[in-house]
């Protein structure tokens, strides 16, 4: 019905597919770990944010280095 049966080829196919999936999962995990480590490091290196609490009406200006668009 579907041509000559070659179970060896099918076995190789499944093993290769499993190996590739494992490699992809490991690579994804490593990438996530690196990005988490970088984020964590950049948070630690950033100086403490200055918050002015004496402004009226509870307005607090954060000196985070961001520029406003207005």
């Amino acid at each position: 019905m579907c041509g000559p049966v070659d179970f060896g080829a099918l076995q190789t196919c499944i093993i290769n597919l499993a190996a590739l999936s494992l490699a992809a999962i490991i690579a994804y995990g490593v990438c996530r770990a690196i990005s988490f480590y970088r984020k964590h490091n950049s948070k630690r290196e950033r100086p403490e944010e200055k918050v002015l609490t004496h402004l009226p009406c509870g307005l607090a200006v954060r000196d985070s280095g961001e520029r406003s668009n207005s």
């Binding site: 579907c2 049966v5 070659d6 080829a9 196919c13």
Partner: protein, 211 residues
């Protein structure tokens, strides 16, 4: 006059494919060809279809080869902003696959005529179909574009195999098997199109961040 204006507007909107985008599509196509050769050695797809007891010929194309190509071509198309990404990736896949198979003398399944001129023609037609559907469904949202392209391009590939390749290698498909295989082909194309859309979103973000 009105039709001419629409044509002109569309022509203006067409963007020229840059060498960088050509390289990206070609790299994806080449990598896809190597991956396909590695994962699916000679006879594995036929045996898988035999184990699953799916009627043939064409089940391997509808369930394995077509969806793999849909994934490859759609990811390439979504990563490059210019039109032509799908066609470039599919041509790169066909040419790389044929070159590697011929250079290294790798045995392939004679049923699918992998690595032959008709195989290259089939993949080129697939890429052209994908490109056309993507261009014509521009008004739809990206997810619907991907789903529609996946389903239609997969069906075009299957029909080409039924009409041109299988009659020379294994014989004509039986009439009673056509509805089941066409349905499976459409569903697999739809699902793979959706998966390609989901996968390409974070990939496109990563590429933009690097730029």
């Amino acid at each position: 006059m009105g039709a001419l204006n629409i044509f002109e507007n569309r022509a203006v909107k067409l963007t020229v494919v840059s060498p960088k985008e050509v390289a990206l599509g070609a790299a994806l196509g080449g990598a896809g060809a190597l991956l396909f050769l590695f994962v699916f050695p000679k006879g594995s797809i036929s045996t898988l279809m035999h184990v699953l007891r799916v009627p043939g010929p064409g089940s391997g194309i509808a369930l394995v080869v077509g969806p793999f190509l849909v994934l490859l071509v759609l990811v390439s198309s979504l990563l490059s902003p210019a039109k032509g990404g799908a066609l470039i990736a599919s041509m790169a896949f066909a040419v790389s696959y044929t070159l590697v198979v011929r250079l290294f003398g790798i045995a392939t399944d004679p049923k699918g005529a992998f690595g032959s001129a008709s195989f290259v023609a089939a993949i080129a037609l697939f890429g052209l179909a994908a490109e056309t559907v993507m261009a014509l469904s521009g008004a739809l949202s990206q997810v619907w574009q991907c789903v529609l392209t996946g389903a239609l391009a997969n069906t075009v590939l299957l029909v080409f195999y039924w009409l041109v390749i299988f009659p020379r290698t294994v014989g004509w498909v039986k009439w009673k098997d056509i509805p089941l295989l066409t349905g499976a082909c459409l569903v697999c194309g739809l699902v793979t199109g959706f998966v390609a859309w989901r996968v390409s979103a974070p990939l496109a973000r990563a590429v933009k961040e690097k730029e």
